[in-house]
């Protein structure tokens, strides 16, 4: 099992959700985050004081995915979240040790 974490532009959420749903991914967790990579921030001006705001708002999507679905999930997220401009984001895949469904107590693949 893998934990797929994707940092995407906020307005891409609906597209990514639909794309994952289409390939059978049942649930995701979404967090509002801020960060930067190569995309530049902006400058704010308050009376005489100038502030450079480096951080940009992004969304972090996390989904627990079965090993045999990972490639399709990555393709789906990539295609849905891409705009072609700097700041589209990144996807991280990490090994997932264990998964438990709280309501029923199921573990492993059945809990996904």
């Amino acid at each position: 099992m893998k934990m797929v974490t994707a940092i995407i532009k906020p307005f891409k959420l609906d597209e990514v959700r639909e794309a994952l749903s289409d390939i059978g991914v049942q649930g995701i967790t979404v967090t509002e985050v801020k960060g930067f990579g190569r995309q530049k921030g902006h400058t704010e001006l308050y009376r005489g004081a100038e502030y450079v705001v480096d951080f940009l708002p992004k969304l972090k999507i996390e989904a627990a995915i079965a090993d045999d679905m990972v490639d399709r999930a990555l393709e789906a997220i990539e295609a849905a979240a891409r705009t072609g401009k700097i700041g589209d984001g990144k996807i991280f895949v990490s090994h997932l040790e264990q998964v438990v469904r709280i309501r029923t107590g199921e573990t492993g693949q059945e809990a996904l």
Binding site: E44, L45, Y46, R47, G48, A49, Y51, V53
Partner: protein, 482 residues
């Protein structure tokens, strides 16, 4: 370099265009300059009004009115319900300016962790100063003929009943005059909190407020409005450019120096947390200011109407000129710039509201906008103090500009209402003198008051408390869900 040239061109065109604009209503000047003459012809009850209208402004100004209405002065004063209703309304408007106007304006400019502390300081200062006003403030400011202080005759408002009429404004009850003036005292002190915000101890604010109110506001009010030194000199201050704005502005600047800079100043973001609330606050300030300026006419009369229209147009002009300067320099017109411009215009027209014509008011607004942009930018950097919400940059600079320009635009040739024996050069000099007296007196008293508060309770909160935010550390509350 290009920006500097552009600004210079803007400034010169504003000045020359402005002078031309201000001279247009010269034909109307005789009509504007003689409200006292026309008023003297009205029935007895209304006649004391123009005299009274000038009274809160300056003792010298009513020389013109006194010439026209000596006969009226012999009549027994009678309560005028129109005047009284207006003065009651004006008082309420000024209260709205403070709570929640100023509270929200300042609060939004700070960081969210300090929101409640700003609201508290304004709210509690209002409560405190108005009470002290009726105990000893009123009598010392308006009860007597000393150079710097009045007397103790009306301590605890002794001798005043519901039926007593004010001697300064003969057609309204004295309690109404006391209340109106109480709000002026309160707002002046409340203005100062914007300078030392986000790092001062609550107890220190209260101690400073009591001391400075007693030894700076009261004598200033007495000197300008209560028949003291500056009034005798002929200084024109219709609604409180010196007494309120310059007074508070310099006290704030001194506080910013004495308190020191906020932690992280210059490195960390100290951006306003809610310009939305600041805009709401600024709007309440503008609307309430009609009570502040037009109410300072002391009656529901033509001067109130003049002050009213001036308060509309000077403010609008200053908003526009601030935004123009801002857009030229930084490329964008901002919400903060708009509300700052509006406040600068309001401050500048305050000493002039009943003395200048509307075209003169517009020119004053156009001039003060860019000057206050400099006040919160270049000048602020030069002064090197962390005046958190730009109390000196806006109220101090705006008040100084307004006070001096009052001497210019009150000229009948520029559409204003001249005092008797007016000469522009002399009047401007008198205005400058009153500005200097205010700066020195208020600055020194402020310094001493801060030092006393420091000795008694300490001025600044600890580093940890400042980091945590004054809402939690001083008041045990948070403004917003965390």
């Amino acid at each position: 370099m290009k920006k500097l040239l552009a600004s210079l061109c803007l400034g010169l065109s504003l000045l020359s265009g402005g002078v031309a604009l201000a001279q247009t209503p010269a034909a109307e000047a005789p009509g504007v300059a003689t409200p006292a003459v026309t008023a003297a012809a009205e029935p007895a009850a209304a006649a004391p009004a123009p005299e009274a209208a000038a009274a809160p402004a300056a003792a010298a100004a009513p020389e013109a009115a006194a010439v026209a209405a000596p006969a009226a002065a012999e009549e027994t004063p009678v309560l005028n319900s129109g005047d009284t209703a207006w003065m009651l309304t004006s008082t309420v408007l000024v209260i709205l300016m403070i709570i929640p106007g100023l509270a929200l304006f300042y609060g939004g400019l700070g960081r969210s962790k300090n929101m409640l502390s700003v609201l508290m300081q304004v709210f509690v200062i209002f409560s405190l100063i108005t009470v002290l006003w009726v105990v000893y403030g009123y009598t010392l400011a308006f009860g007597g003929e000393g150079k710097f202080f009045g007397g103790f005759d009306k301590l605890f408002l002794k001798g005043i009943t519901a039926d007593t009429l004010s001697s300064a404004l003969k057609t309204i009850p004295e309690y109404v005059f006391v209340s109106f003036q109480a709000t002026f005292a309160a707002i002046t002190v409340a203005l100062i909190v914007g300078s030392f915000a986000e790092r001062i101890k609550f107890a220190a604010v209260l101690i400073f407020a009591v001391l400075w109110f007693t030894f700076s506001y009261i004598p200033m009010a007495h000197m300008v409005w209560g028949g003291g030194l500056l009034a005798a000199d002929g200084a024109l201050d219709f609604a409180g450019g010196t007494v309120v704005h310059i007074n508070a502005g310099i006290a704030g600047l001194v506080g910013a120096y004495v308190l020191g800079k906020r932690l992280g100043f210059g490195k960390e973001s100290m951006a306003p947390h809610s310009l939305t609330l600041s805009m709401v606050g600024a709007s309440l300030l503008w609307v309430g200011w009609f009570g502040f300026n037009a109410g300072s006419a002391g009656a529901a009369n033509g001067i109130a109407g003049l002050a009213f229209v001036n308060t509309i147009v000077a403010t609008g002009a200053a908003t526009l000129s601030w935004l123009a300067a801002e857009a030229l320099h930084k490329g964008k017109a901002s919400m903060l710039g708009a509300i700052s411009g509006a406040v600068a215009g309001l401050v500048a027209i305050t000493p002039a509201a009943g003395f200048v014509g509307p075209m003169g008011a517009i020119v004053m607004g156009l001039i003060v906008g860019p000057l206050c942009v400099w006040g919160v930018g270049g000048l602020k950097r030069m002064l090197g103090a962390d005046d958190a919400f730009d109390v000196f940059g806006v109220h101090g600079v705006g008040g100084i500009v307004g006070a001096i320009l009052t001497g210019v635009f009150c000229a009948a040739s520029l559409g204003g209402i001249e005092p008797a024996n007016y000469s522009m050069g002399h009047q401007v000099w008198v205005q400058v003198k009153s500005v200097l007296v205010t700066l020195v007196w208020s600055g020194v008293v402020a310094f001493v008051s801060y030092k006393v508060a420091d000795l008694l309770v300490g001025l600044r909160v600890s580093e940890e408390e400042e980091r945590q935010g004054l809402d939690i550390s001083s008041h045990g509350e948070t403004a917003y869900v965390r």
